[in-house]
């Protein structure tokens, strides 16, 4: 089962954020479909649209892996199914 999800990353800018997040996602077989990234007054903000293949890498595993990366980077990283945004922001 393919699940579309949103990864959002927020925190102080530093070297290697995109690399660390993408490496962790690749390791979990997660495909990145779109990335938007910006830096606002030294705060790094990135949102990614990704597809998780839950047959090989369950949502929980990807979630746990990203939590580890978040700790290592000292940043806030969240992974949420895409439906929640569609539900909340579209009539």
């Amino acid at each position: 089962m393919k699940t579309r999800a949103i990864v959002s990353v927020l925190g102080a800018d530093r070297v290697g954020i995109v690399a660390a997040i993408s490496a962790a996602l690749a390791e979990q077989g997660v495909n990145i479909e779109d990335i938007r990234q910006t830096i606002l007054s030294e705060v790094f903000s990135m949102t990614m649209l990704v597809t998780i293949d839950e047959d090989t890498h369950p949502f929980e595993d990807v979630h746990a892996r990203l939590a580890t990366v978040a700790d290592e980077l000292g940043m806030q990283v969240t992974l949420q199914r895409e439906d929640v945004f569609r539900f909340m922001h579209r009539v």
């Binding site: 199914r81 909340m88 922001h89």
Partner: protein, 455 residues
Amino acid sequence: MLRISPEEIVETLLMVHQQHLDIRTVTLGISIADCGADTADEMGRRLYEKVAHAAERLVPVCEAIEREYGIPIRNKRISVSPVAAVAGRCARDDLTAVAVAMDRAASTAGVDFIGGFSALVHKGVGAADDALIRSIPSALAATERVCSSVNVASTRAGINMDAVARMAHTVKEAAALTAEADSVGCAKLVVFANMVEDNPFMAGAVHGAGEADAVINVGISGPGVVRAIIEALPGDADLTAVAEAIKATSFKITRAGELVAREAARRLGVAMGIVDLSLAPTPAEGDSVAEILEAMGVERCGAPGTTTALALLNDAVKKGGAMGTSSIGGLSGAFIPVSEDAGMVRAVTDGALNLEKLEAMTAVCSVGLDMIAIPGDTPAETIAGIISDACAIGVINNKTTAARLIPAVGKVAGDHVSWGGLLGAAPVMDVSRWSSAKLINRGGRMPAPLGSLRN
């Protein structure tokens, strides 16, 4: 392609992380129609088996949904059919054993509250209703998670004043039996007019007679989100703009509830019932309905204008929510519990809010006289008068009203009581010193009101 804008993603994250957006409760309603037995002990055994089995996946499923969608589900709860409706065969027993079994089932399932130790007596008190009401004080003292509710009035039947008087005495007994814990028993007991069958919120949740065997009902939350949206408006924004902003936010909050309700029902393999649009506060700073009213422009909740602000809020939440779900149900009106809302507590402490103003506010929102600590020596007739006033507002206006009063034993007006957790803490409020005894002691029934001449 990213069909959702980064701004919308950030807005959602802010709602959760800074403004306390959460799902207040996912409540699994379970029919216990097949749990009747010849003794209360046996009924308790059957109820335990049924409920513990039916609810075993509730908490893990909710926790998975929380993780996957990133929206916290604050409480997972259970409601069962009103116990009195099933207890006919063991009506000669004390029904405390049934409540103890409910408590055990809730503990096994890992939920914090279970509702349904309840009876509907708006027209008359049957043998099982009588047994249930008799057992309420000891049941609430012997259990931690059981909630009890009794419906004493309805628009179609009027107010059963004998039942009101009896419930006032029951409230006092429940207070006495839990005196050492600031009379916490009463915090789990609510007296209703026009009780609903699909309310997911405690203490009044029951699984109604018109429901399927098992059903998921969801209560939304988000007072902090609504307050933030009002505070973000220009200071001179007119009330039409305020209503517009509340509607838009309510839509989003409700959609989160609808999504969680659908997912929880699908994963548990039970029917999806309703989404309850009540804004429910918690004692956490910033998660307050009173603070929304203050953001709208009254200096303290309770000041003149408070009822207007609350009416606007309540209506706008429903209008926005109605676009977000086609399954509106439950109580669906803002809650104004005193002890569970830091802003309400502050308003009482500052002398801005009293019992009479709360009664007026009840007329334009949901379950008004809620979580109010009153002096322990308040006469039962006065408590009955307060309950019947709340009922009269509900009966005449075709809406649900309720009273959850805590006559805290040994406390006087101005003292403080604390129950901890979601039940919060509150100052003991003053009650009128004028007697209601003659009216209450008349008993009988306030007839059902005429419904057509509506002025």
